[in-house]
């Protein structure tokens, strides 16, 4: 059984690797790399979603799925639960993690805000992929006001 820390090390190296090819890709290049990370996360999220225990699939409604992501998926991926989940009950959810493990290595504060999207793209894809397997099409974006906290915004499509 692979230790959790291996994922964090691998993720950091993947982010570094994508930017190593072209240290200053410019806005077009940057977006391509972010979408590569996001689609990798998406495929992993889909696969993870498929492996759920049968009893966990008996979600009564959309909010249950989001709660599952905030508790079980987050616990499995990051050894902690999401700190808060808010919704407008019209298909938009905001998931807040006050201490996101993939952002912890950066000094808490504002200096590295530019680098942050690189470290969130994979996880956005992960959420989108898991939702997809659970029958929900969505768009997932992330934002950071101050490290190491971040918010994931999930907008359900065809809501």
């Amino acid at each position: 059984m692979a230790d959790a820390v291996l994922f964090e090390f691998l993720h950091t190296e993947m982010v570094a690797e994508l930017w190593a090819h072209d240290p200053d890709p410019g806005p077009g290049g940057q977006n391509m790399n972010l979408s590569v990370l996001e689609s990798m996360g998406f495929r992993v999220g889909q696969a993870l979603g498929e492996r759920l225990a049968r009893e966990m699939l008996a979600f009564r409604e959309e909010l249950d799925v989001l709660k599952f992501l905030c508790k079980d998926l987050w616990l499995a991926a990051f050894q902690k639960q999401m700190d808060s989940l808010r919704t407008n009950h019209q298909g938009t959810y905001v998931l807040q993690d006050n201490s996101f493990p993939l952002l912890l290595p950066m000094a808490a504060g504002l200096q590295y805000l530019e680098e942050v999207p690189k470290f969130l793209a994979f996880t956005c894809g992960l959420l989108r992929g898991a939702l997809c397997t659970l029958g929900i099409e969505s768009m997932v974006t992330a934002s950071v006001a101050a490290l190491p906290g971040c918010k994931f915004q999930v907008v359900i499509e065809n809501s």
């Binding site: 692979a2 820390v5 994922f7 992993v44 993870l48």
Partner: protein, 180 residues
């Protein structure tokens, strides 16, 4: 069985699968980025090396092993402590060279390759090559230059997966200029 306990085991399993699934996605992406298997193998080795030089700190902090006095001790620590801690398996150590500078790690099953099949057009791909880089990088940080390579691979139809480890030389600390 309470729901809490079920949730705990499920989480642990998913956590392990997150790593192996992510690794699979990475290899797939590298195969798209690079034209031939050799380049993918090199890239995996390089990335593994970068991970290894940092992973060793995590290992030393969590495992409490002392300095190894020879390559045999190193082999034991790698197989019985490191592999166990990070991948949950204990490879066996075999095929020591007479000089004691080479040995093999035999992995009955390799967690990285669960659910993985190599497509026909990637026969030269060393899927788990990241591991060789990790071993090389980690050992370099404890003053050992080694070579690690796969000599058998269940993905290629072999019965077991075998990593051959070779001790090259001790890396002496470089004294800063001006000091004797």
């Amino acid at each position: 069985m309470s729901r809490q306990a079920n949730r705990g085991t499920e989480s642990k399993k998913m956590s392990s699968e997150l790593f192996t699934l992510t690794y699979g996605a990475l290899v797939t992406q590298l195969c798209k980025d690079y034209e031939n298997d050799e380049d993918v193998n090199k890239q995996l080795d390089k990335m593994g090396y970068n991970i290894g030089v940092r992973l060793i700190e995590d290992f030393l902090a969590r495992s409490n092993v002392g300095r190894c006095h020879d390559f045999r001790e190193t082999a034991d620590v790698i197989a019985k402590v490191a592999f166990k801690m990070y991948l949950g398996i204990t490879p066996s150590i075999t095929n020591w060279s007479p000089a004691g500078d080479e040995f093999s790690l035999i992995l009955e099953n390799n967690p990285l390759v669960d659910f993985v099949e190599l497509p026909d057009n990637h026969s030269s791909l060393i899927y788990s090559n990241l591991l060789c880089g990790v071993l090389r990088g980690a050992l370099e940080m404890v003053q050992m230059a080694v070579e690690a390579k796969f000599v058998q691979d269940t993905l290629k139809g072999d019965g077991v997966t075998e990593i051959r480890m070779r001790f090259i030389r001790r890396i002496e600390d470089n004294l800063p200029a001006g000091e004797e």
